[in-house]
């Protein structure tokens, strides 16, 4: 493994995009930052600006209003950026998949590198997904 990808793997900064979710996945993502799970062990921190982000965490169903915003956010991120779809809504659309305003699951809009299913996924599942992702990069 080269030095570059090692550094990248060791310092992933997260940016959280919440689509039209039921707000439960957002809370589970925040759980990962709490003392019990503490993702800063892996060098991950939550950043405020997408320009600094290495991982885009997308959760919730993407509706017609969210779609242009998600695209915009993705284009504004400095590459390489890894996209993780969280929750049943992020992966497939979940219970919102047949709604009027639904505009396709995340992977129809931007390329997704990892899927973490669950409604909502447990923090353990999110961590497991991230560890698998670390192996993949």
């Amino acid at each position: 493994m080269s030095f570059k990808s090692y550094c990248f793997k060791k310092s992933l900064w997260l940016f959280h995009f919440g689509g039209a979710s039921c707000n439960n996945c957002d809370i589970e993502i925040l759980d990962c930052l709490t003392p019990k799970y503490d993702v800063e062990r892996f060098g991950m921190v939550l950043v405020g600006s997408v320009r600094h982000a290495d991982v885009l965490l997308v959760n919730g169903s993407i509706n017609k209003k969210d779609k242009p915003r998600l695209l915009e956010i993705y284009e504004q991120a400095s590459k390489p950026v890894v996209v993780v779809a969280i929750g049943a809504c992020g992966c497939t659309g979940g219970i919102f998949a047949e709604g009027n305003t639904f505009a396709g699951p995340v992977d129809k809009i931007i390329p997704v590198d990892a899927y973490i299913p669950g409604c909502p996924p447990k923090p353990e599942a999110i961590l497991a997904g991230i560890v698998k992702l670390l192996g993949k990069i």
Partner: protein, 310 residues
Amino acid sequence: MGTYLFYFLIYPGFLFAAVIGAFLSWFDRKITAGVQFRKGPPLLQPFYDFFKLLLVKETILPARGAKGLFLAAPIFAVFGATMAGVFILLPLMNITTGFQGDLIVIFYLLTIPSLSYVMGALASGNPLAAVGGSREMKLIMSYELTFLLVMAGVIIKSGQSINLYQIIQVQQAGTPFIGSLSGVLLFIVAIFCLQAKLAMVPFDMPEAETEICGGIFIEYSGTPYAMIKLSKYMSLFILPAFIVAILMKGFTLEGINILWAVLKLVAVVLLLTLIRNTNPRVKIKQAIRFFFIWMNLLAVIAIVLAIFGL
């Protein structure tokens, strides 16, 4: 010429300050994690962050903004931090004796990083960065006078010397300045100035992640952001080192005293970290009032006490 380049680039300038600063930044994050009952990042985390930003990430330039200034500002910041570091550390590490009036030069050089952040933020053309930039400017205006008063107090205590080396010598011959009442007051004021200079939590409104998404640094990515991180690491080393020099007797680098020097530095950083972890962010208006009224008052009292030799 060769020695000066060595001083500037390797020891005690750029490389040395950056490496020590990175370790101190890890220490800061680890203590923060400890306060919050977390485990915290690994030891080399600041280096991973820096090299990731430097080597891996793409640099994005703002479409509507002054691109040249946007890119130049981080370089100014690193340059200012390095120059200030050289002038502080040469007398502090007992390498050269500095020159007459270097305290004033250091004072101005220490302002350069913050000023260049403001320049970069305003050059980026982002409204949130402009908000952050204006806050940072107000913050600079409020703490700069206080910091000057601290230096005035130190100058009076050292018997009208404006040479950093002489100030350290005076303390090493007698007692450190912090051992007196006025010294303690000056130390308290200086710690709060440092907190504002480093933009740590009670005074981090220029960055305010939850409010204006990173503020002054919102548009930075890739290499320029790595430069900004570097200047932050260096500031985290040179500013506490400066306080150690002007108030806490400086360093003596022989035998067991090295441990003592490290402990002094770490203690100052620890104090900054604990303040940052136990306080909420204040509004810019409150910060200005805090510095203009309370801290200036405290500094003036300290100066008066110093004149009477307390």
